[in-house]
């Protein structure tokens, strides 16, 4: 019974997480941050290397600077996507002109990432370069943090736009005095949600899961039975 409850709680929590891009001005406490960071610390890592390091940024000027880098990176990339018409291909199925205009504006202007500056806290996730599995290790730690934040009704958004391009990585590394042996993996906005978006569509499991080899449909049995292999 207890296990069943845990399963349901875990899935509910994971499913309830949203990427929050609008925050209330209310502060995030250090206690809350410590719980998020503790969740990150418990993540798995290759060779148990624990290569992650976290910079908690509350300073308004620093947050603005990070937001500017994020906006610039995303704005440049999405404008180039528009010019090459890849963006139009990507959203070919979006027919509502108002929605399409909103999406395109958000992407081209870079505001898709610039909101980061408005988060009361930004957690900058760095990883030690001298390990084998740096991005994977740090991604596991980040997801743990997001789930923990969600459990405390905090809103988070995992933003790559600030460091996607190596030119922007260098800018942030300088801004935050990150030593050469570390790499910034991502920036996470943290705050109390000002707006909670509807869930984004998820592809069905049947489209994502295969049996024994890629492409073979996985048809799960029910009632606790085990699906057979070849």
């Amino acid at each position: 019974m207890e296990l069943q409850d845990s399963r349901e709680s875990a899935l509910k929590l994971i499913s309830a997480r949203r990427s929050i891009r609008k925050y209330l001005p209310d502060p995030v406490t250090d206690d809350e941050l410590l719980l998020m960071l503790e969740a990150a610390r418990q993540a798995p890592s290759g060779e148990n290397a624990q290569p992650w390091r976290f910079i908690v940024v509350r300073d308004a000027d620093a947050r603005q600077a990070i937001g500017r880098v994020a906006r610039a990176g995303s704005g440049r990339r999405f404008t180039a996507e528009f010019v090459s018409e890849k963006m139009q291909e990507r959203f070919a199925d979006l027919h509502d002109p108002e929605k399409k205009a909103h999406v395109f504006k958000t992407l081209i202007s870079g505001s898709v990432s610039a909101f980061l500056a408005e988060a009361p806290v930004i957690i900058v996730v760095c990883g030690h370069r001298d390990v084998w599995d740096l991005p994977f290790d740090c991604a596991a730690a980040i997801e743990n943090m997001l789930i923990m934040a969600s459990a405390m009704n905090l809103g988070t958004c995992w933003v790559i736009g600030s460091v996607q391009d190596v030119r922007d990585e260098v800018k942030l590394e300088k801004l935050l005095d990150v030593p050469i042996e570390y790499k910034i993996i991502a920036t996470i906005g943290v705050g109390r949600p000002g707006r909670i978006p509807n869930p984004r569509p998820r592809k069905p499991l049947s489209a994502l899961t295969f049996r024994e080899r890629f492409g073979e449909p996985f048809i799960a049995t029910t009632s606790g039975e085990v699906s057979e292999g070849e």
Partner: protein, 177 residues
């Protein structure tokens, strides 16, 4: 116990010739292919400064003040060093239009490069089904613009047409990005 020092000793005589460009290209191709396989669509954002060290090592004293000057500087350098046979550009205003909506107005640098020494690598990539995603020539132009004029840029497309590379790069003024 085997004598490891023998395994790492230098050849008794010097190589009879310099390494061939084919060998160097095969190594670069291997790197580019493996990096794309590792990083996929994100690979191109991690190689945007490849070529910057080459350009900056020349320590040009007088900063350029516009696209024309920056292009001329890069063209002279690349032709002098035998990296390209020729290159030309066209700068056009590009309205970002979709239906009756105008999102922004940007400048697009259209670059035409003939006889680039990197072309064999791009062709080999295409033959293996991978898209060319790194252009050191465009990166050098981007470096010249960013360092002297604080103009940021983003590669929009890389197209190979025979002996010619047709390239598009979006330019942003300093206030934009």
């Amino acid at each position: 116990m085997s004598d490891l020092s023998n395994s790492f000793s230098s050849p008794s005589s010097s190589p009879s010739s310099s390494p061939t460009i084919e060998y160097v290209n095969s190594v670069i191709l291997g790197l580019v292919k493996n990096f794309w396989k590792e990083r996929g669509g994100g690979a191109r954002f991690k190689v945007t400064t490849v070529g910057w060290d080459y350009f900056l090592s020349h320590n040009f004293e007088n900063p350029t003040t516009n696209v024309e000057e920056a292009f001329a500087r890069v063209k002279d350098l690349l032709r002098r060093d035998g990296i390209v046979e020729d290159m030309s550009y066209r700068l056009k205003e590009n309205a970002l239009l979709e239906g009756d909506q105008t999102y922004d107005q940007v400048e697009v640098l259209e670059l035409r490069v003939e006889g680039c020494m990197h072309l064999p690598i791009e062709r080999a990539l295409l033959e293996t089904g991978l898209p060319p995603y790194m252009c050191p020539i465009l990166n050098v132009v981007a470096c010249a613009l960013e360092k002297d004029q604080r103009v940021s840029s983003e590669i929009a497309s890389i197209t190979i047409d025979g002996n010619v590379c047709k390239l598009q790069m979006v330019l942003f003024g300093e206030k934009a990005f």
